[in-house]
Symmetry: C2
């Protein structure tokens, strides 16, 4: 049986790892040669970790899975009747026939129709995004140090994070930490702790997916890091150097040189190419067993599947495991998500964690976060190193990977 | 006293660190926000370390030196009569007046008049070079896995390193290790250990600056890693996919998709702007105290100074220390280099080390190399982490930072 899996994120990788045995020949197609631990991307964007700490070559993870072949290439379309995937690999188009197809192509940043904002307010979905953002943040402090005009300095030291979900909260918290602790003593003309960090959320509270008590704790932790949290606030316009906020019909113009977009995602265009019904964000509607309606040989998993489950790594991993078992004929008829908890970290030594009945805040939540992330980095041979790096950062308030590279290159 | 230092490499950084005390106001100008541990750049190019492991923000190193100001900007020229440096900082031109000037602007890759080779055979001087080269090397293996034609596969699996100095030797050794050990089991269509690695050196032996016995040992270690060492061999042409080698009047055409240039450097153009005599590579001729003839207030240090000392990190560091003492009126009238040893590493657990009377090869030399590099990473708060990373790589034959990033970006 030939199984083609598109996407080496949490869902696709787990599916590839679980379809073992010589009965299935698996081909995992990804545009990148590595699996990315996306929940820690904000750590790269803020100089705490290097890309190499959170990205592992797919081939390396799957080297002992002799029935799995990794193909570096881009899926460009499907022939659903002939059961073929069209792939562009090393510049050459080819077709991959399948008996079972797993589509786990994920999501990308979405600007809700304001595509011009992309250049002014980059998102945070790829390693390149993170390294580029790291360069922007650090360059803003450098330019502020060089600036001769006070108003210019203020604009350079104003950072706006749009979107109060986990990514936005974690990023704003890390920015607060950088300004208040990491850069302390490093500048001569500016005081980095003067930096203004705005977190803008359209909904009534940050971390809308968490219980209210945890949202409130997160907001308090953010305030302690001098992050100015603006809830029930929308973004009307992002121009060069200016963000226009709107709340209750009133608008406010914020002069800010660095704006980050963590406010929306839409599905990979591959979702629509499957010809099935999609939701507003382009996610593909699937059967309870994650198969495509009318196409039992095709499965859509991870964020790309419109299932009502949140777009979190554990959901995608469990979907990958489920679909692997389903393909091998060993799974029940409906996917069930076992929620083992969700969490978000806010700067140094504070977090919120929701394990259902157990809800943690502050330092205990942060310890839980650390523990869970280390366990989940198990795929990454180097989790010991990431732990060392974190311990070092924690003890020294340091962020050793604070380097600005050309045109966002590292 | 106003001291301006241009360049935050080994020479400039050491000068900045040693000029302590409120009597001297020091400004360190660099185009990059970080100091780079250049001798380990080949480890980034071959995926063993991340850029963040070998680059540290200059501000961070100098944060407690209250008399030192770091200026992110590019020195563009001098007004030697008015004693001013012209700098472009955050896009704004300015002038920095000085009482003492230290120029430590270093070297860049040189193609001996064949500038067209640059795009085909990149050098290895910057973090961007290293990350770009890492992408090229890994992409070649990926493309070979995808290739349908055997000749195409051979060309993709042929790597030519031009230049048998320490950088070329270390790079070729690391490539041999990747092909033979790191990538083992990771591919399905190709056998990475079939990769052909050529090290081309114009002189009669590799590591020409070392004693002959050590050159011979290095050549043996390289052969053990299947590196094909070609001495007394020149490069006549580098075209897309082809390198033409010349030896004793005979030429050989090698079909290779990846070519690396480690064969020559020339001085930063700032050297010539000082108006003094320069040597063929553009290095500035200096007095025994490293000052510019006729300009006792200007010093040229590091690789940019034509002194007859080798272009090595320890030389530059000692020059920085000397010039700092000289500026403070505490140094003898002539710089003297204390040679504490030179070394080069060849792949995994082999090296050569020349400590004058003590000459080591193989594993003992590798241990010495490891020890010396860790001591020298002392500036880098994270040397413990680099040690962990190395220990991990050593135990697992792994290179965890093997990620291909867009257009060479990480």
């Amino acid at each position: 049986m030939r199984v083609v899996i598109i996407g080496g994120g949490f869902g696709g990788l787990h599916a590839a790892m679980r379809i073992r045995g010589s009965a299935a020949e698996v081909t995992l197609v990804d545009r990148r040669n590595f699996h990315l631990f996306q929940p820690l991307l904000y750590q790269v964007a803020t100089g705490g970790l290097s890309p190499g700490n959170i990205a592992v070559p797919l081939r390396h993870i799957l080297r002992r899975h002799r029935n799995v072949r990794v193909l570096l290439g881009e899926a460009t379309g499907f022939d659903l009747e002939r059961r073929e995937v069209k792939v562009l690999a090393s510049g050459v188009p080819r077709t991959l026939p399948y008996d079972r197809l797993v589509v786990a192509a994920g999501m990308r940043t979405d600007y809700r129709g304001n595509d011009a904002w992309e250049a002014r307010a980059p998102g945070l979905k790829s390693v390149e995004d993170a390294v580029g953002l790291r360069g922007r943040i650090l360059t803003a402090f450098e330019a502020a140090e060089n600036a001769l005009d006070a108003a210019e300095q203020d604009a350079l030291l104003t950072f706006v994070v749009v979107g109060g979900g986990p990514t936005g909260v974690e990023l704003a918290g890390a920015l607060g930490e950088i300004a208040r602790f990491t850069l302390r003593r490093e500048f001569r003309s500016i005081d980095p702790s003067r930096a203004r960090i705005l977190l803008v959320e359209m909904g009534p509270r940050v971390l809308g997916g968490f219980p209210e008590r945890l949202s409130a704790a997160a907001a308090r932790d953010l305030a302690r890091l001098s992050v100015d949290v603006r809830t029930s606030t929308g973004v009307k316009e992002i121009a060069e150097g200016t963000v226009v906020l709107a709340r209750d019909g009133a608008t406010e113009v914020v002069l800010a040189r660095t704006v980050v977009w963590a406010a929306g995602v839409r599905a990979s265009p591959l979702g629509a190419m499957l010809g099935a019904e999609t939701d507003r964000a382009g996610r593909v509607k699937v059967n309870p067993d994650l198969s495509l309606p009318g196409r039992p040989e095709i499965f859509v998993i991870g964020d790309l599947a419109a299932t009502g489950f949140p777009g979190l790594a554990p959901v995608a991993m469990q979907m990958g495991d489920y679909v692997a078992r389903r393909i091998l004929g060993r799974a029940e008829a409906a996917f069930r998500y076992r929620n083992r908890g969700t969490m978000a970290v806010i700067g140094r030594a504070a977090a919120v964690a929701d394990f259902g009945r157990l809800r943690l805040t502050g330092f205990p939540a942060w310890l839980a976060w650390l523990f869970v992330h280390l366990v989940n980095l198990v795929l990454f041979g180097n989790k010991v190193l990431v732990l060392c790096q974190w311990a070092w950062n924690y003890l020294t308030f340091g962020r050793s990977a604070r380097i600005i590279t050309d045109r966002g290159r590292e």
